[in-house]
């Protein structure tokens, strides 16, 4: 079984085979043989040589969360296509948060300067500012005041100036 995990912009490719009680894992040009037990649903005890790894894993819609040594990592299983997994165009202004647009400072066609505040989004009574990443012209505004915006949604398109 060949699996790719994506974590913070990196892909971790690993091969795992499950035979009887053992797992054979190939990762980063090394091979590991481990035994494992799922103590409770999502709670794993993995024996690798003399060390015992204890961790908790849960699955969301898209992501997996793993708790290990006091830290939590959010990973995504990705299909390997040989190409970049996420494409992010420069100048795309995605909302960092789900919330309500409380202020739109610009109109389509406006010239803006780097760091100008374009939109103000409010979530949980805190404000988040969407600023211009560079000097340019506003091509399209996707939200009006009082509209709900979801995390990751494109808010404003901006064409880079000369």
């Amino acid at each position: 079984m060949f699996i790719n995990y994506e974590y913070e912009g990196h892909v971790y490719s690993v091969i795992v085979e499950h035979r009887d009680n053992e797992f054979f894992i190939t990762y980063d040009n090394n091979e590991y043989t481990v035994t494992a037990e799922e103590v409770k649903p999502g709670l794993l005890k993995v024996k690798l040589g003399d060390t015992v790894i204890k961790c908790a894993i849960s699955e969301g819609d898209e992501n997996k969360f793993i708790f290990i040594d006091g830290d939590v990592y959010k990973v995504k299983r990705v299909e390997l296509t040989g190409r970049r997994v996420t494409e992010r165009k420069e100048g795309d202004l995605n909302s960092p948060i789900s919330g309500t647009v409380v202020k739109v400072n610009i109109h389509e066609g406006d010239h803006v300067k780097k760091d100008d505040v374009l939109l103000v989004i409010e979530a949980m009574k805190m404000e988040y500012l969407i600023r211009a990443p560079y000097d340019g012209v506003i091509k399209k505004i996707h939200f009006k005041e009082k509209e709900q915006v979801e995390i990751g949604q494109l808010t404003v398109e901006i064409e880079k100036g000369e």
């Binding site: 690993v14 091969i15 993995v46 805190m126």
Partner: protein
């Protein structure tokens, strides 16, 4: 004592209040919005009533609906928790007018102390030291800019009706002034329905030290010592401890006396908190009074043995305060960490999602105050505080070690939390030395927060692979390893996308 009360809140604080009620044999009425239908506080309440749509204005901030529910269910009193209507004088008044006891000070006291400008004037008169600033009634932007220049930079803009860091801005130079005033006014308007702000001098090496007070309705007032709340992000506290590392017995008695004087001057009743700023030279200044139960009240309970919420109920039902100041002692040291659904590596942005798994650390002197459980959705409608972890020990160092242990075993999966970050703060050498100010996070974690990341550890990769192999439905047709020992896949490890 009351027979039945309504708890006008959600999350961990509603649960905390209901526990006190249950201990005292008081029946509880819970209220909830549509999205909170399956919440812990709804399960805990003896009866629960839906308020309607999730936006706070339709639910937890809706005075009319809540009063109506209290009347209909026969609740004799309302506990407002913190946030929402806790410091809203109109709500206290509406309760009083309907013959329902508001568990907190009178609406007049809330009004006086809620207006930060009036509060300061009162305290100056009472001889309590305050920070220089502009607290005038003229609220046009030009006046504020002019007054801001007079005070000098850096300065702080705060919402007159505010609290909890909402509508608050630090201005470091004149060119940021106008934009900050406008932003603060907008935030204040939407959070409190009042866009009035005030300005004040921003202190060097400031610490936030507050005193818990309890006052009955017969003029008896005591303080339950201090809480050090300097560790903040976005002007909101994340770690609190008591005693404060800077406190001396002399300073403690001076500040405690001042806190009692503040309560007297305001005609305060029930539980409240007097906030002070303490500068590098240990001068202290009155900041404000939080006319409610504080998020961080448990550390005081851990070190004094006093149950603050039960006293709130007793005082509101007309009982006399039987604890005397001289009988109170602080024993040991307690720390609280606030577990937030937020992402420290992305500017502490609140995160949302479904909690798939939650396991809290248990052990000697560890207290978990929580409002969440597994399979609960964290939505963006409300404050992202999920739970509080409180520990106590003989001394500060032991408490730090215990907290560090407890955080490392605190599992929440499904939504990003600040637990890892809290542990980094607790384990920071300067924190251990007690060298903390309200700038601590900015001073020591700014760089760390933006870059960080060591990648996914080997043990995590192995465990994930094992998990997926265990849960795989597919039969493997080809065994890569055996199929081709020279396969390029074997060399793959960590690589980067799109570069």
């Amino acid at each position: 004592m009351f027979k039945k009360i309504l708890v006008a809140n959600r999350g961990e604080i509603a649960v905390r209040v209901m526990i006190a009620c249950q201990e005292l044999g008081v029946k509880t009425v819970g209220v909830y919005s549509d999205v909170d239908k399956k919440s812990l506080h709804v399960h805990m309440a003896d009866e629960a009533v839906c308020l309607g749509d999730p936006p706070p204005s339709e639910s937890y901030l809706n005075i009319e609906k809540i009063i109506e529910v209290a009347k209909r269910t026969g609740a004799e009193a309302v506990h407002p928790g913190y946030g929402f209507l806790a410091e809203n004088p109109d709500f206290a008044k509406a309760c009083e007018d309907s013959g329902i006891k508001f568990i907190g000070p009178s609406h007049k006291t809330i009004n006086l102390l809620g207006d930060k400008i009036e509060a300061k004037k009162t305290m100056i008169k009472a001889g309590v030291p305050v920070i220089p600033g502009y607290q005038g009634e003229r609220q046009d932007v030009d006046t504020l800019i002019k007054e801001g220049r007079k005070i000098g930079f850096p300065l702080l803009i705060k919402a007159t009706a505010g609290g909890g860091g909402k509508g608050m801005r630090i201005v470091r130079s004149e060119d940021e002034l106008e934009e900050s005033i406008e932003g603060a006014k907008r935030e204040a308007k939407s959070a409190f329905g009042n866009d009035s702000v005030f300005l004040e001098k921003y202190l060097d090496k400031p610490r936030h030290v507050e005193f818990q007070i309890l006052a009955d309705e017969y003029g008896n007032i005591i303080h339950l010592f201090e809480r050090e709340c300097s560790i903040q992000r976005r002007h909101q506290k994340i770690i609190e401890e008591t005693p404060s590392p800077i406190m001396t017995s002399k300073l403690r008695s001076r500040m405690g006396d001042a806190a009692v004087k503040v309560a007297e001057a305001a005609g305060y009743t029930n539980a409240g908190t007097v906030e002070f700023m303490v500068d590098g030279d240990l001068n202290f200044y009155f900041m404000e009074v939080n006319t409610r139960l504080q998020v961080e009240h448990p550390i005081t309970e851990m070190t004094t043995g006093v149950d603050i919420v039960k006293w709130q109920l007793r005082i509101a039902s007309g009982e006399k305060l039987t604890i005397k100041q001289k009988d109170l002692t602080q024993r040991g040291h307690a720390i609280e960490c606030r577990i937030y659904a937020e992402d420290p590596s992305h500017g502490f942005l609140p995160s949302v999602g479904l909690i798939k798994k939650i396991e809290m650390p248990i052990g000697p002197n560890i207290r978990n105050d929580t409002g969440v459980e597994a399979d609960m959705e964290v939505s963006s409608y409300y404050d992202p505080l999920l739970a509080k972890l409180i520990v106590s020990s003989e001394n500060r160092m032991e408490s730090i070690m215990k907290m560090s242990w407890a955080l490392s075993r605190y599992i929440i999966l499904g939504v990003t939390t600040n637990i890892g970050f809290l542990r980094q703060v607790i384990e920071h050498p300067e924190f251990k030395k007690g060298n903390i100010t309200t700038h601590f996070i900015d001073d020591y974690f700014k760089d760390l927060l933006s870059k960080r990341q060591t990648g996914l550890p080997l043990n995590a990769v192995i465990s994930l692979a094992v998990y997926d192999a265990l849960h795989s439905q597919r039969q493997e047709v080809v065994r890569f390893k055996e199929a081709d020992p020279h396969s390029p896949w074997r060399r793959l490890g960590r690589w980067r996308i799109g570069v």
